[in-house]
């Protein structure tokens, strides 16, 4: 990056009202295990898991209940002890309200762990062995993308990364689960980071924490003091600092190429919660069966951070947090900037659930859409350097390829543009629609190619069959002719 470039580097991002306190300062609570848990089979990026239990089977907490399927997938474990009562469709924690396959577990109330096998000295294990154990524990990226952590670990070992970046940014407003985790379990986090360093072969770990979390920074500094390879780096609080590309740029000054991966610049990024889960998986052999969830928003009676078993219903969590003070304008899973609006509260918590927010209308600030006045606030807010106003206008006019030409595929859907839009245009919805539509077109194209092959195969088969039939007929005819001529010659017909 030249000097000129540095002077003219665009200011990106937005500074939303954080709303993190007082929820961040309330001590962590633990949700008592509800009677029923609904473990969704697709709660990670990649192929859904395949059930490994039968209905009626008894399981203990931590028993594997579903196997990974394909290269990118993750295992699932029983979040408590009890009986499998159903494997079937339940409403997904998704704005569409469509069903998803899930394993339903009736708790026996004992919450009894299965036999766990820990490891006293993980640094004696081979990196591949660590990845394998992480995979067996079903650990996925807990920042929200839910990419299987083991896949990332082994990929980065292959890519020879030099730097492990730990994302403790937590730039989404309202959320404080990572903050709380770093305050409560800094030592475990640092240990997990060191195990991941060993597994990836990176030499240093940079832990990026936004500077509005002084307590977490202090706790982590204290825990990382003995280890020179783990550096705690406060970063300016700005949304979306927690986005992978932004954090890498801020901490290392390097830009990840578009269409590339952080590994291309010798970096791999993991969430702080993932580090903690890796620690638990390797040291204690504990699979990922619970996670810290921030419950926040003006409609929540007692906001705070709650340790929730995977599969608990949002309804149960809300009830535990004192219930709702008022009917929320929106119920959200995740943060307010990128989270998913939930159709209702009868959906399960998944591994990627960082927060459950019940927001009042004033907090959402939704208003009727007005025409775009091209004020270009979105252009200044975009962390990627796109032109959201032009992309949305093209998508509105049905010109998807035009939107792609000006960078739709580089959009990270962070929502900074729609957050600042004075006309309240649902920019992110336009982009999500266009990306979905393009993916559907691509699927249709692939499908058309596949069916074309089938059709050609059929044509070839029919041609072959016809030819065979013709040949057979010709042969028969020839045989018949030969036979008749033979009989003719036998009888000595007159020539």
């Amino acid at each position: 990056m030249g000097l000129m470039e540095k002077c003219f580097t665009r200011a990106w991002g937005v500074h939303p009202e954080t709303h993190k306190r007082p929820a961040a300062d309330v001590p962590t609570r633990t949700l008592p295990v509800p009677e029923r848990l609904y473990v969704s089979l697709s709660q990670h990026l990649g192929a859904p898991a395949r059930p490994a239990v039968l209905v009626g089977q008894k399981v203990r907490k931590g028993d594997k209940i579903a196997d990974p399927q394909g290269a990118v997938s993750a295992a699932l474990h029983a979040p408590t002890s009890g009986t499998i009562v159903a494997i079937g469709e339940i409403p997904a924690p998704h704005p569409s309200g469509l069903p998803v396959l899930a394993i339903t577990l009736a708790s026996d109330g004992k919450d009894e762990w299965t036999d766990l096998e820990g490891c006293a000295d993980p640094f004696a294990l081979a990196p591949a062995e660590i990845s394998q154990r992480v995979a067996a524990a079903g650990v996925v990226g807990l920042g929200g993308a839910t990419f299987p952590a083991a896949v990332k670990l082994s990929l980065s070992a292959k890519a020879k990364v030099r730097t492990l970046i730990i994302n403790g940014g937590e730039c989404e407003p309202y959320l404080s689960c990572d903050d709380r985790l770093m305050r409560d379990a800094a030592a475990a986090c640092v240990d997990g980071i060191r195990i991941m360093l060993h597994a990836t072969g990176a030499s240093t770990a940079l832990v990026g924490i936004e500077d509005d979390k002084p307590e977490a920074i202090a706790a982590m500094r204290e825990a990382a003091r003995p280890y020179a390879e783990v550096c705690i780096r406060p970063v300016p609080a700005r949304y979306p600092m927690g986005s992978e590309k932004q954090l890498i740029l801020t901490l290392t000054g390097q830009e990840v190429p578009a269409d590339g991966r952080p590994g291309d610049v010798g970096v791999v990024v993991h969430n702080i919660g993932t580090a903690r889960a890796v620690h638990a998986a390797i040291r204690h052999g504990e699979p990922l069966v619970a996670r810290l969830v921030t419950v926040n928003g003006a409609c929540i009676e007692a906001p705070g951070n709650i340790l929730v078993p995977i599969g608990a219903l949002v309804e149960d969590v809300l009830a535990f947090a004192g219930g709702l003070a008022a009917p929320p304008a929106r119920l959200i899973m995740g943060g307010p900037m990128m989270g998913l609006a939930l159709p209702h509260a009868r959906v399960p918590v998944v591994k990627g659930t960082s927060g459950i927010l019940a927001l009042a209308a004033a907090e959402v600030g939704a208003r009727a859409t007005e025409p775009c006045i091209r004020c270009a606030r979105c252009v200044r807010a975009c962390p990627i350097g796109l032109l959201p106003l032009d992309m949305a206008r093209r998508i509105a006019a049905g010109d998807l390829s035009g939107a792609v030409r000006i960078g739709l595929k580089d959009c990270i859907a962070c929502g900074a543009c729609a957050y600042v839009c004075p006309a309240h245009i649902p920019l992110v919805q336009y982009f999500a629609h266009a990306k979905g539509e393009l993916a559907a077109q691509e699927r249709a194209r692939l499908r058309a190619e596949a069916t074309k092959k089938l059709a050609q195969a059929r044509t070839a088969r029919l041609a072959r069959e016809a030819q065979e039939k013709a040949e057979l007929a010709a042969r028969r005819k020839a045989e018949r002719a030969a036979a008749t001529s033979a009989t003719a010659s036998d009888t000595g017909a007159p020539a």
Binding site: P371, R393, A396, A397, D399
Partner: protein
Amino acid sequence: MSELVLLLLSTALVNNVVLIKFLGLCPVMGVSKSMDSALGMGMATTFVLTLAAAASWMLEHWLLVPLGLEFLRILTFILVIASVVQFTEMFIKKASPALYQSLGIYLPLITTNCAVLGVSLLNVQQGYGFFWSLAYGFGSALGFTLVLTIFAGLRERIALARVPAAFAGAPIAFITISLLALAFMGFSGLNV
């Protein structure tokens, strides 16, 4: 030299072929849907116009006037222009198939672009010398390209606008170009 530059400026801006003389409106309306093809069309027309201006000057002064055949002026000019356009078409087809496809029918139609013939005839009328004719042709073509590109940029934006149904398409294009002509009136009376 500075007078030549002045002539260039004045033909391109003050007496713009499209907006002030209203010549060459067909390609301006036809090839202004995208900025890239407009620029390509502008360059093709620039090439043709400049070459036609030179060729027509030579025809006029070395053939028509010496032989007293001025009555054949339009006929011979069109012949030369058509040949130059044919050549340009072949060249673009070879050099840039994408541009060739995007220009479509409008490329051969440069032949009938009245700006080309108009500028050649105006050149003769004004009695310019060879280099002045060249400058006049080139300046007019520059003005044409400028307007075409600007107009294409505007139309790209208007294509995405919520134009009421009654005005969508050609009507709004005409309104836009009229407003553009209004803006170019600002250059009237420009003298350095």
